[in-house]
Structures are given as structure tokens and as C-alpha cells.
Symmetry: C2
Subunit: 189 residues, 2 copies
């Protein structure tokens, strides 16, 4: 484990508060308080509140886009790719449950990096959609509206951050497997 810089600590603490209350409802004084220092002292380490949000969201969004790129270009069945996407989400969310809240709910408060974020998200969704469409074309996946499938699976994966912390006992692999069963094979016997 590398040492955590004060800057990283600020971002980490902030992401916890942002998950609880949302970016706009958390003040610099709240963050400073949690660290036992004064708000003004934060500015020795970070440039602005906005920069904290950027740090949290952009690194996560890039992780997803990079992971998706790998899966998309891999030599695998389309169902196999979907299973690997599920694992990607479980993995990233397990390692940063707090940041995932900002990624989902506070992205609209990004300023300079908003367009960049939106592009990353669009790329990600396009790849996801193309995997589903390929799966339908190849007969791996049922012929239902692919938008409904994309939406349904992605909604579940994006909400993982709300749920993983409550089920700490569940192993990452077990969770990814169960989710794969439920999302891909359905729940009907």
C-alpha cells in the first residue's frame, strides 16, 4: 500500500460526504471539519471544491471507459462480454463505493470537464449497446428491444454503489456470478 497524500485524503473524505448528502449540500467547512482542520487550509492541497469533484468523477469514468474498451475488443462471445462488464462494475464499485455516488448523481455539477465526461459516458454506452445488438444478431440474445435491455442491465450495475456496502459479507466473485445469473438468465424457473 502506498502512502495516502493529504490531497488524496481530502478527496476520499469528500467523496464520503458527497455520497451522504450530494455535492451541493456539502460545504468546504464540512470537509475540513471531518479532517480536523479549517476550511482555508484545504486550499494548500486543492485548487477548488470543483477540482475535488473532477478528481472523483473523471478517474472513475476513465476506468469504466478503459475497461469497456478492453472487453469490447476481446475475443469472446457477446454473453461472455456482458458477464465481464458485470465483473467490471462489481470490481470498480467495490473499490470506490463513495465515488460511484458522485459519478451517478453529481456529474451535472462538473464545469470545465462536463463535456469530457459526457463523451466518456456516450462511448461507454455505445459499446455496451453494440455488444447487445451483436448478441441479438448472432442469436445469443433474445430479440427484445435492445434499449430496454441496455437500460435494465445498466441501471442495476449503476446502482451497485447503493447496495454493495450493505452486503459486505458477499464476495466479489459470488456477487458477480449471482448478478450474471439474474441479469442474463432471468429469475423464472
Amino acid at each position: 500500500m502506498k502512502e495516502e497524500t493529504r490531497r488524496q485524503e481530502i478527496v476520499r473524505i469528500a467523496s464520503v460526504l458527497f455520497k451522504e448528502r450530494g455535492y451541493s449540500a456539502v460545504t468546504m467547512r464540512d470537509i475540513a471539519n471531518e479532517l480536523g482542520i479549517k476550511a482555508a487550509s484545504l486550499y494548500n492541497h486543492i485548487k477548488s471544491k470543483q477540482e475535488i469533484l473532477h478528481d472523483i468523477i473523471i478517474s472513475l469514468a476513465e476506468d469504466f471507459t478503459a475497461g469497456m474498451e478492453l472487453i469490447f475488443n476481446a475475443n469472446d462471445s457477446n454473453i461472455g462480454k456482458l458477464q465481464r462488464i458485470i465483473e467490471l462494475h462489481v470490481h470498480i464499485t467495490t473499490n470506490n463505493q463513495y465515488g460511484m455516488a458522485s459519478l451517478n448523481n453529481d456529474w451535472m455539477h462538473l464545469e470545465e470537464s462536463l463535456d469530457y465526461y459526457l463523451n466518456l459516458r456516450t462511448d461507454y454506452e455505445d459499446n455496451f449497446r453494440n455488444i447487445i445488438k451483436s448478441g441479438i444478431a448472432s442469436g445469443e440474445i433474445i430479440n427484445v428491444n435492445p434499449e430496454v435491455m441496455l437500460f435494465s442491465i445498466l441501471s442495476t450495475l449503476r446502482s451497485l454503489y447503493l447496495w454493495i456496502p450493505k452486503k459486505e459479507d458477499l464476495l466479489q466473485d459470488t456477487l458477480a456470478n449471482d448478478l450474471g445469473d439474474v441479469l442474463l438468465k432471468g429469475i423464472t424457473l
Copy 2:
């Protein structure tokens, strides 16, 4: 159609802004601006900003709890009940896509009514969970961790508000049917 009171108009406009930016990032002046009046004038119709949030969230939460109660006590198979829950979400979300954003993301900013809201939500989830467990016991539903199934289905249904406005062409019934297929029967051929 009944006439909309000024108060209802305020709550409706506010819910649109709350969906875009979140409760904390929307000011009384923003809401007033959208109505073409001054912020102070809002107080002729409402008691506080907090009351607007209460209005939006609590009525929706009560709709869900009441709808669930009906379904739970109905004479139907457990899979049938799940399908009716899907229809309940599609129906309520279609009729109030903006309010659903606050229900999902701004409930933590409720003050006096926070406990009441949390109780409604717990009741709802308990009923949902019991339907799934009954379905497993009766052999209608596969024997996978019921928490994973509850989480997966509910996440999708709770995210509908993000997605329904983009697919206005899709009829309520078609959407509920497709969602039922995907969520219950899975997507694998």
C-alpha cells in the same frame, strides 16, 4: 382535467429543476424565475422550500406503498405479482418523471418527514422481498440469493425516471411487457 393551483404549479416547476440539478443546488430564486415572479412571492403559496420537497416526495412514496399493498394482498401468482409491480413503477414514473428524481436522490434532505419516508420505503421493500421469497418457496423463481434479485429488479425500476423521457415513443404497456420479459425471463436465448 382539474385546474392547476398556483401552489401545484410551483411544486411542479420545482420538481423539474430538482431533477436537473438536485434539491440543494436549486434556489428559491431559480424557482421564482421560472414562474416569472420574485422569490418572496412564492411564500404566499408555500411555507418553505422544505415543504416543496415534502410535497413531491411523500405523495409519490405513499402511491408506491399503497400500490404495493394492493398487489401483495391480491390473489395472484408471485411472478404475476412481480409483473404488476413492474407495471406500477412504469405507471407512476410515466405520470411523474420529475418527482421520481427527488424520490430517488433527494430524500435525505427531508427533515420532519424523513422518518416517515424511511418507514414507507422499508415497508415497500419488505413486501417486495417477501413476494420473491414466496416465489422461491413455491418453485416459481430460481433459488438464487433473494437479496440480489430484489436489488437487481428494484434498481432497474427506480431508474426508470432517467430513461422514460428519452423513449416517449414507447407505450406504457409495451415497455412494461418488455421489462417483464427482460427482468423475469432474462435475455439469454
